[in-house]
């Protein structure tokens, strides 16, 4: 209860020095906003990237080994541009990956025309076995093409070129490779390690073989049903294919994603630490005004001590003052962080859906807690100094 009167005195002291207190609080507000907003932004970016990559987090990608000589693929021609995976090697990969689905992928890019009088455009073309397509791609419109005269297009490609189901696309310069009818539009997949179809078209493997005279594959994508098997599948393929020489590179997409997220985590930590520096600066200003407060009230401290206030009671009076500034500043900062996070997310990520999730909101809790702790820590020395003033000297102070 005696603490209440010291709390009341601390409160009133802040009130009569409102300008000074507000400026100190402003520092804390800025510090909390900096920490929390940076944390929210970093987390939102991780979530956004995670969303973009989540469709490819269950794959093992096998590509011809780049670098060194090639003994196993592409007829031993050497050089990365001619590298490919033969049907025989694909069979081996398929066998060691079973029961998971191994999808061979052909890939090139070519000119194409979308109608009479339109300019040629260049886009990536993927060749996939029609049976494998449903395992790899989901459609947002239309259906999978079974025959060789149909193709699928990515959603961004469709939006950019106003393509609908039924649109015809002439492939090759002046349509030399043939004309395909769009049977379906693929759902947006974002960045992908396997096939990036958003701005591409997908044709059947047979059509691709005929048009580009290719039978070897550019990569093999293994869709792993149980994510815990990813390392096992990767190791099995490496063991099988790289027995003598390194002939294939095998990428575990989840591990790659983990590396990416770790890098994002480090960036988030770094920018949050920069926010932390502003909080330290704010803490110094709290220390400064608390020292001023002690110096101004030396006589008052002397009176309190002479009429029976214990050292710890005087100490608490100043700690209350630091705490009030810290709690008020941090809470205001917390609210502004939410608004700041909303604004930053809207501007930089074009969405606020990652803001109101626990992993983002926890950054506000961290920021507010850090603000309060910094204020309390910065209040300890002035409070200790006040409590340990000699009552006789303090009473004499003018």
């Amino acid at each position: 209860m005696s603490g209440m009167i010291f709390f009341e005195i601390a409160k009133r002291n802040i009130r009569i020095h409102m300008l000074r207190s507000s400026l100190a609080m402003l520092g804390i507000i800025i510090g909390v906003v900096a920490i929390a907003s940076m944390g929210i932004l970093g987390n939102s970016m991780v979530l956004a990237v995670s969303d973009s990559l989540r469709t490819v987090g269950d794959s093992v990608i096998v590509t011809p080994h780049v670098g060194g000589t090639n003994h196993g693929f592409g007829g031993g021609t050497g050089g990365s541009s001619s590298l490919s995976i033969s049907e025989q090697d694909y069979q081996q990969i398929q066998r060691v990956s079973a029961p998971n689905v191994a999808i061979p992928v052909l890939q090139t890019s070519d000119r194409m025309k979308l109608g009479v009088g339109t300019d040629d455009i260049v886009a990536p073309i993927y060749g996939l076995n029609p049976d494998d397509v449903p395992d790899l791609l989901k459609l947002k419109e239309g259906g999978y093409s079974r025959g060789n005269s149909g193709c699928l297009v990515g959603s961004k490609f469709a939006d950019d070129h106003k393509i609908k189901v039924g649109t015809r696309i002439a492939i090759g310069t002046d349509g030399t490779k043939g004309t395909l009818r769009v049977t379906g539009i693929i759902e947006e997949r974002g960045m992908a390690f396997d096939v990036s179809t958003d701005s591409a078209i997908v044709v059947t493997k047979d059509w691709f073989d005929t048009a580009y005279n290719r039978s070897d594959y550019d990569k093999v994508v293994i869709k792993v049903k149980n994510l815990d098997d990813l390392p096992t599948v990767k190791t099995a393929i490496e063991k099988q294919m790289n027995r003598r020489d390194t002939t294939v590179d095998v990428m575990d997409t989840r591990k790659t994603m983990d590396t990416i997220f770790a890098a994002f985590g480090q960036i988030t930590t770094f920018v949050t630490a920069i926010g932390g520096i502003s909080m330290i600066v704010a803490g110094v200003s709290i220390l400064n005004i608390m020292m001023m407060s002690v110096t101004e009230r030396i006589k008052e401290i002397g009176i309190m001590r002479s009429i029976g206030a214990q050292k710890q009671e005087v100490m608490w009076m100043f700690l209350y003052e630091a705490l009030i500034l810290g709690i008020a500043g941090s809470l205001i900062g917390g609210v502004l962080s939410l608004l700041g996070g909303y604004a930053i997310s809207s501007m930089m990520l074009q969405t606020t859906k990652y803001l109101f999730v626990p992993s983002s909101l926890i950054n506000i809790v961290y920021g507010v807690s850090f603000g309060i702790v910094v204020c309390l820590v910065c209040g300890i020395y002035p409070a200790w100094r006040a409590a340990n003033l000699n009552p006789i000297d303090a009473l004499r102070h003018e």
Binding site: I9, I307, G308
Partner: protein, 238 residues
């Protein structure tokens, strides 16, 4: 709350009636230029109900004596007893509790807390002592006893005259029923008429049983007391 120490309590037969006693008290301040003896073997006793004034020129040791009487300092040698308790070996917390519970301070410059109103200033020592709720009725009774008008109870010290502030200061000093009221030039900052009013109040309190020790350099004020202790060069001379 720090309880009053019991283990150090020493009561001597000759001091049974003494509310305060000094026995051969020496206070030396060690300074770089050499030790300064502020009090040199001071012995006196104050009995319950006395009104004593302490007089002496500047540098005579009055302030040192006041600090020792107020338990703000401890002697270099000799014994000081407050209500039978020897203060020489007390810790800071114990001395603070002794000041809070047994001594009431009245200062020359009133020394009220500017952030608290009249009633809060008076109840402040009560809160320090009880650590719980304050007896506001008692505070109002004491304020009435020092003849302060009720409408001033919610005023801050800045809104009070010097005389009113000193009355609040007296009420604050009395609120914990101290054994001794220790006054440092209580009228030093007041005009003569207001000062006389405060001294009449002191006399009235003493008549009602309060022990008062007053440090002053004004012989007219000292006349209000029953006994005067004169001090010079750190020794009692009369």
């Amino acid at each position: 709350m720090v309880p009053l120490p019991q283990k150090e309590e020493v009561t001597l037969p000759m001091d049974e009636q003494a509310v305060m006693s000094f026995r051969d008290v020496v206070k030396v301040y060690p300074l770089p230029a050499g030790d300064v003896t502020a009090l040199d073997g001071v012995t006196f006793r104050v009995d319950r109900g006395e009104f004593i004034s302490i007089m002496g020129p500047s540098g005579s040791g009055k302030s040192t004596l006041l600090n020792l009487m107020g338990c703000l300092d401890t002697p270099t040698s000799g014994d000081i007893f407050i209500s039978g308790t020897r203060i020489g070996d007390m810790t800071d917390a114990e001395l603070t509790s002794l000041r809070r519970d047994r001594i009431g301070f009245i200062f020359q410059y009133f020394n009220l807390f500017p952030l608290l109103n009249t009633l809060e200033n008076v109840t402040f020592p009560m809160l320090l002592k009880s650590g719980k709720t304050v007896d506001e009725k008692k505070a109002r009774d004491v304020l009435r006893a020092v003849q302060l008008e009720e409408e001033l109870y919610t005023h801050t010290p800045m809104e009070l005259s010097g005389g009113q502030q000193q009355r609040v200061s007296v009420a604050r000093a009395l609120i914990n029923d101290p054994d001794i009221l220790l006054c440092d030039e209580p009228t030093g900052n007041l005009d003569s008429k207001t000062g006389a009013g405060i001294m009449d109040l002191m006399t009235e309190l003493n008549r009602n049983g309060t022990t008062i020790i007053m440090v002053t350099h004004d012989p007219n004020i000292a006349k209000y007391s029953n006994r005067t202790i004169r001090i010079a060069d750190g020794r009692i001379v009369e």
